[in-house]
């Protein structure tokens, strides 16, 4: 039997962290989890690529972490509550990481939030984004 389409698959700009993503991203998330300890944060900072070797990441995942490709980390199985710990290690707040994922500057993002946030109108379904971009 074919796997049915996930009912949340058509929400745009969103990777839902489900069992498939969790399995894929185990190493990414456990790496991020290790950053809860100050000693580990220091060791990571001292040599990022070397530190990552202990977590069995794929080459894509390693690159995404080293280049701080926040959206790609999520696509490759990371979860925001884990990847935000990498943000914290870099001295970034949740809001700064969020801004980067949207492609906005932090000021633009903060201004959008102050003005009431991103409207749900036009942001419910992927078809609405295709329309917007095409």
């Amino acid at each position: 039997m074919e796997k049915p389409e996930k009912e949340y698959a058509d929400i745009p700009g969103t990777t839902i962290f489900d069992a498939d993503q969790s399995r894929k991203g185990y190493g990414v998330n456990m790496f991020c989890m290790s950053l809860l300890k100050a000693d580990n944060r220091a060791a990571f900072k001292a040599n990022e690529a070397e530190y990552l070797k202990a977590f069995n990441l794929t080459p894509d995942q390693t690159e995404a972490v080293l280049k701080r490709q926040w959206n790609r980390m999520l696509e490759l199985g990371g979860n925001i509550y884990f990847t935000s710990k990498l943000g914290a290690t870099d001295g970034l707040s949740f809001q700064q990481v969020a801004a980067m994922m949207t492609g906005a500057t932090q000021q633009e993002y903060a201004d959008m939030m102050l003005a009431g946030g991103r409207s749900v109108e036009g942001n419910r379904r992927k078809s609405e984004w295709e329309h917007k971009n095409g």
């Binding site: 009912e7 949340y8 929400i11 745009p12 700009g13 969103t14 990777t15 839902i16 962290f17 489900d18 069992a19 969790s22 991203g25 185990y26 998330n29 456990m30 991020c32 989890m33 950053l35 809860l36 300890k37 100050a38 944060r41 959206n71 999520l74 979860n79 925001i80 509550y81 884990f82 935000s84 710990k85 943000g87 914290a88 290690t89 707040s93 949740f94 809001q95 990481v97 969020a98 801004a99 994922m101 949207t102 492609g103 993002y109 959008m112 939030m113 102050l114 009431g116 946030g117 991103r118 409207s119 749900v120 942001n123 419910r124 379904r125």
Partner: protein, 281 residues
């Protein structure tokens, strides 16, 4: 006999804790948020609960992806505020109520809610920010706290209906505890927010206000909301609102609304807050 005296519902945005800890509460941006809790602090000082059951979610702090309990009840003597990557919040150690917690665990498990017993757990902003909002910055928290962690990180979280019915089971457990204790139950998290991916920043005030209305007057309506609807309408992380339904289930179906507050934003998130009390018979 112990009894549930009230339900407190509030967002638990980490930036609120950071603003408080770094002395930014007087800034206009944060005054708008903290000002909304002044009446709540006065209210809870009068109500003086002996114990607060705080329904919250762990944000990859106590639980990694190694173990993901759907419902985990904190039965320890105390819970240490965690280092979430920015250093631990400078807040008092959270003192538990192991006897009542163990009683609740036994009672709800025999009532067919198979929750996980946790005897050691560090607690993150999900638990400590609501305490700060309701109690300010005391040297010690003024009551015992029983944490109930709900998985909302790994999809799927428990359904709204399951959360609501667990709340009912918790109430039965509390009411079968022989000691006279005044218990408040907190539902935390939400409201609409998305902090992940290109859609980050999503806020849906219309959804949030309807949710607050439903919680106050028609809880069954809120119970019926499906996961995909939370995620589509209120943001991927807006699904945290299912946790409010645990607390709501522990109250009567008809309640008095004591207080309500709503503002956008705190950092990335819509802040909602509600206090409900059972009607006096």
């Amino acid at each position: 006999m112990a009894k549930i005296v009230a339900g407190v519902f509030t967002s638990h945005v980490p930036a609120i804790g950071a603003a408080l800890d770094n002395g930014k509460t007087a800034e206009p941006y944060w005054q708008r948020v903290f000002g909304g809790y002044e009446k709540s602090k006065e209210w809870i000082e009068k109500v003086k609960p002996d114990v607060c059951i705080v329904v919250f979610n762990d944000h990859a702090t106590a639980f990694s992806v190694d173990i993901v309990p759907t419902f985990a009840l904190g039965c320890a003597e105390e819970f240490i505020p965690a280092d979430e990557g920015w250093g631990p919040r400078p807040v008092p150690v959270v003192k538990g109520h192991p006897e009542l917690a163990a009683h609740i665990a036994q009672s709800v498990i025999l009532d067919e809610f198979d929750l996980t017993v946790v005897n050691k757990m560090e607690v993150d902003h999900g638990l400590t920010v609501p305490l700060s909002l309701m109690f300010g910055q005391p040297a010690e928290w003024p009551c015992k706290i029983i944490p109930l962690a709900v998985n909302v990180v790994l999809f799927p979280p428990p359904t709204g209906n399951r959360c609501y019915n667990l709340g009912k089971a918790i109430r039965r457990a509390v009411e079968s505890y022989p000691e006279d204790l005044r218990v408040a139950i907190f539902g935390t998290g939400g409201m609409s927010h998305q902090i992940s991916g290109p859609r980050a920043g999503l806020i849906n005030s219309e959804f949030d206000r309807a949710f607050l209305d439903a919680l106050a007057t028609d809880p069954k309506k809120a119970v019926g909301i499906k996961h995909v609807e939370y995620m589509r309408e209120a943001g991927a992380e807006g699904i945290e609102m299912v946790m409010w339904l645990v607390a709501r289930g522990a109250l009567d179906e008809e309640v008095n609304e004591v207080y309500r507050f709503y503002t956008v934003p705190a950092s990335n998130t819509a802040v909602g807050h509600l206090i409900l009390e059972n009607k006096v018979a």
